[in-house]
């Protein structure tokens, strides 16, 4: 017994076989930053995180905080993916009932973007001054000094922080924590003002 898979003959009008159809989302990935305004309701972080996991999107960083509007919180999600995939992530996020607004600002250079890092670095009497100098060059500062360590604090873009951390590694990093990026559009434009919601009824 053998299978008889029929092959569809191309219609006469087409001489050459057509190129294969693109698979959406299979293009080259870039870094994107999604700003997500959400209603501050129970479980909303769980909903966003669960969706990203279930839809197979890998979150690089996630920062969550209140905004100045009642009941509105802001999430900043950084992730990698091609434009179609990230757009799909945004559309899926929009399906969450608690999500008010999603904006991909990763493609613009019209944003300020920073994250904050604390690094606990091994320090000795011999190199402490040197560490402080390096840190100052990177617009960071030392916020705690102990006999065998210092805590360095710095803010900057992801790559600026990466560079500082790479330098500090030479001295020995005991502990490190980063907040993940937060961003804001330059100029007068405001994601919050673009919200069509006046806030909770009173």
């Amino acid at each position: 017994m053998t299978a008889d898979p029929s092959t569809e003959p191309a219609p006469a009008a087409h001489a050459a076989p057509p190129p294969a159809r693109d698979l959406p989302g299979s293009g080259e990935g870039q870094r994107h930053v999604l700003v997500v305004l959400v209603l501050d309701r129970p479980g909303v972080l769980n909903r966003v995180a669960s969706l990203m996991r279930a839809r197979n999107f890998n979150i690089d960083s996630l920062a969550v905080s209140r905004t100045d509007r009642e009941q509105v919180s802001r999430m900043t999600i950084t992730l990698h993916g091609d434009a179609v995939r990230v757009e799909q992530a945004a559309k899926q996020l929009y399906k969450l009932v608690d999500v008010l607004k999603v904006q991909d600002v990763g493609a613009t250079d019209q944003v300020v973007e920073h994250e904050l890092v604390f690094v606990k670095v091994r320090a000795t009497d011999q190199n402490r001054a040197e560490i402080i100098k390096v840190v100052e060059l990177y617009k960071g500062r030392v916020v705690d000094i102990a006999p065998e360590s210092v805590i360095v604090e710095a803010t900057g873009t992801e790559s600026e922080i990466d560079a500082l951390v790479a330098l500090l590694r030479a001295y020995g990093i005991k502990e490190l924590v980063r907040t993940g990026a937060v961003v804001m559009l330059r100029g007068a434009g405001s994601i919050e003002e673009a919200l069509k919601w006046e806030g909770p009824a009173r």
Partner: protein
């Protein structure tokens, strides 16, 4: 207070009564399953009529608790049937259920059955289906049904109880994080800890379930929320909408996109409409037909798009996909334009995307923007409700003279003759004179004048229903498409029969799927729900056996499935049953089942090794169909 069906209520203050009300002063409880013709049946009927139409609402002689607010809210939403199973934490609801005879409570035999029944009710009626279960195992038993509704965009509200708020998080008896479980498989879910929240949350749940792309919404109530006194008012629709600022579905297709689509349609030489479930959900069947006729474009359909167009319509071309008709898949593979309405290019429809419809540009209309561009890239995206989009397209498109499509139509007709004429189906007796499943399905279609609601299970039986029943009426076909849930047919048919009592209702199940939820036979018997069951018994997990035969080199394991004596089984439940093993017994048994006033079962002993062909092996493309297998008949 007067509560009118489907309309927001006045202030519920009137319901409140003196706190000294005791159980003794309650109105007499009424059974929800009274015997036909009995006094209590008449009383239920009378109460229901009074409630829903003219009569004044009987005053409840006790305080109004959260459970009352829930029942009021259900009635305001027009719910008339509740498929449910009791348990400790929802006993406060059962304690007052007798005061709401206008809601028919169907006591199922398993919560999964209740969930599928609510689903079938919704699909057959177009209304929101409601099911309920207790905390812990009652809630987890609902999960499969909720998932089924989620993947098929079925409007459903699933209610569960949970332990008292103070015990949440303590691993209390029958406590499970059910909202955590349903979170990724519902349109939205809630945990209600306060009775005052109940009216708002239930109103939101119904609004979300049925608006935009429908789906299941799950509401979990702590026991104390159901027991607390409350005077909370039911919100108006405007208040509900205002309270959901993140939910604003787009209904109207963008005019610019519609214009682009009209231009594509004008230029196409071999266009094809792909009709999906969205057409049925939007009740857009007339608009679909009008658009197809005006533009003279043939219509193919997905599994859940069956019934979007009358299959006997000259432009109705057929069922597509993995087990679709070869002529339909051929038409897709050679089309220069696909107009996809309310479908989602599921992998069972496209096969390998890389080789899918290689010559076609694609117009894709869906109410859910996330579906567009998700599985295939499209040239013209249109976000909108199928009805509005089809209206818009029909308005913009030019009338097409069928004569100009002559060569195309001739080609399609030839492919169709060839594929429908294949000796691999429709043959009545299959090899060795054994009963052929497609023949049985065809006869049920004929003898119900193609007007019955047919609820399929999953597996080969589902594909035979899709291919051979011949559907002519919207919502006459019900099937678990996305999740492919075995055990769906019997309970879903139970719900479908109550959702659309005018239509004769058939459950078509394989022996495997039937044995997964057959306990609902008792529900059918007790509640006298007149579902006719066609059990297609091949003594196999037929679809598994088929894959093992064709794809796994005949290495059969666990696909042989011994079953009980189904006549005795039905008899034990008090359900009349018939058996057919040969072609000439088929019509008589169908007629006999139809003649039963109430549920009935037919045990069709079909050929054990019949395959559903053609078949597109998983991972292959629509042009790679396996059309024949084994010795020719």
């Amino acid at each position: 207070m007067t509560i009118t069906k489907g309309e927001p209520a006045a202030a519920p203050g009137a319901v409140q009564t003196a706190p000294d009300a005791t159980a003794a002063t309650r109105p007499e409880r009424r059974s929800h399953v009274p015997a036909d013709g009995s006094a209590s049946a008449a009383a239920v009927e009378q109460a229901r009529r009074e409630m829903l139409h003219e009569g004044p609402r009987q005053r409840i002689k006790r305080t109004r608790i959260g459970a009352d607010a829930l029942m009021e809210a259900l009635m305001l939403q027009g719910a008339d049937t509740l498929f449910s199973y009791p348990g400790g934490v929802i006993l406060p609801i059962y304690d007052i259920l007798g005061d709401y005879p206008e809601i028919r409570h169907v006591l199922v035999r398993h919560e999964q059955g209740g969930g599928h029944a609510a689903d079938g009710y919704a699909r057959a009626s177009g209304k929101v289906g409601v099911c309920m279960g207790t905390s812990g195992p009652g809630a987890t038993n609902l999960v499969t049904a909720i998932g089924t509704a989620q993947l098929d965009s079925v409007p459903m509200v699933a209610l569960t109880g949970n332990v008292p708020a103070a015990l949440i998080g303590k691993d209390a008896f029958q406590e499970i994080d059910i909202t955590g479980i349903t979170l990724p498989m519902t349109k939205h879910n809630y945990l209600v800890r306060d009775a005052d929240e109940i009216p708002r949350v239930v109103a939101e749940a119904f609004y979300l379930a049925k608006t935009g792309r429908p789906g299941p919404v799950h509401v979990d109530f702590t026991k104390d929320a159901l027991q607390q006194e409350t005077a909370a008012e039911h919100p108006t629709l405007e208040e509900v909408i205002a309270g959901l600022p993140g939910f604003r579905p787009t209904v109207e297709g963008h005019p610019k996109q519609l214009k682009m689509a009209a231009r594509e349609i004008e230029q196409a030489k071999r266009p094809l409409i792909l009709a999906g479930h969205g057409v049925l959900i939007a009740e857009a069947w007339d608009e679909l037909q009008a658009f197809a006729e005006k533009t003279q474009i043939p219509v193919a359909w997905t599994l859940l798009g069956i019934g979007a167009i009358d299959e006997t319509h000259p432009l109705a071309y057929g069922y597509m996909g993995m087990h679709g008709w070869k002529h339909v898949n051929r038409a897709i593979q050679s089309a220069d334009l696909l107009i996809a309405i309310g479908m989602r290019f599921d992998d069972r429809v496209t096969g390998s995307v890389r080789t899918y419809a290689p010559y076609a540009r694609i117009i894709h209309a869906d109410v859910d923007p996330a579906e567009i561009g998700k599985n295939v890239a499209v040239e013209v995206p249109i976000v909108g409700d199928a009805k509005r989009v089809l209206e818009g397209l029909a308005r913009l498109a030019h009338e097409v003279d069928p004569a100009t499509r002559q060569p195309y139509f001739e080609q399609l007709a030839e492919w169709r003759r060839e594929s429908e004429g294949s000796s691999w189906h429709g043959s009545g007796a299959w090899r060795d004179g054994l009963l052929s499943a497609d023949y049985v399905i065809g006869r049920i279609g004929e003898l119900t004048s193609h007007q019955a609601t047919m609820v399929a299970d999953v597996g080969q039986n589902q594909m035979w229903v899709a291919r051979y029943a011949g559907f002519r009426r919207p919502n006459s076909h019900v099937s678990s498409g996305g999740l492919g849930t075995m055990g769906f047919a019997l309970p879903a048919a139970m719900g479908a029969a109550l959702g659309n009592p005018e239509a004769e209702t058939w459950a078509i199940a394989g022996d495997g799927g039937f044995q997964m939820t057959s306990q609902e036979l008792m529900t059918l018997a007790v509640d006298r729900i007149p579902v006719k069951i066609a059990l297609l018994d091949n003594k196999k997990l037929g679809m598994i056996r088929q894959w093992q035969e064709i794809i796994y080199a005949g290495n059969y394991h666990s696909s042989h499935l011994p079953g009980p004596d189904f006549l005795k089984l039905a008899e034990a439940y008090g359900i009349p049953a018939f058996k057919a093993t040969t072609t000439d017994e088929v019509d008589a048994t169908i007629r006999a089942a139809q003649a039963v006033d109430g549920p009935a079962l037919i045990w069709f002993e079909i050929a054990e090794e019949q395959n559903v062909l053609p078949m597109m092996p998983a991972g292959k493309g629509l042009s790679d169909l396996i059309e024949t297998w084994g010795p020719e008949e």
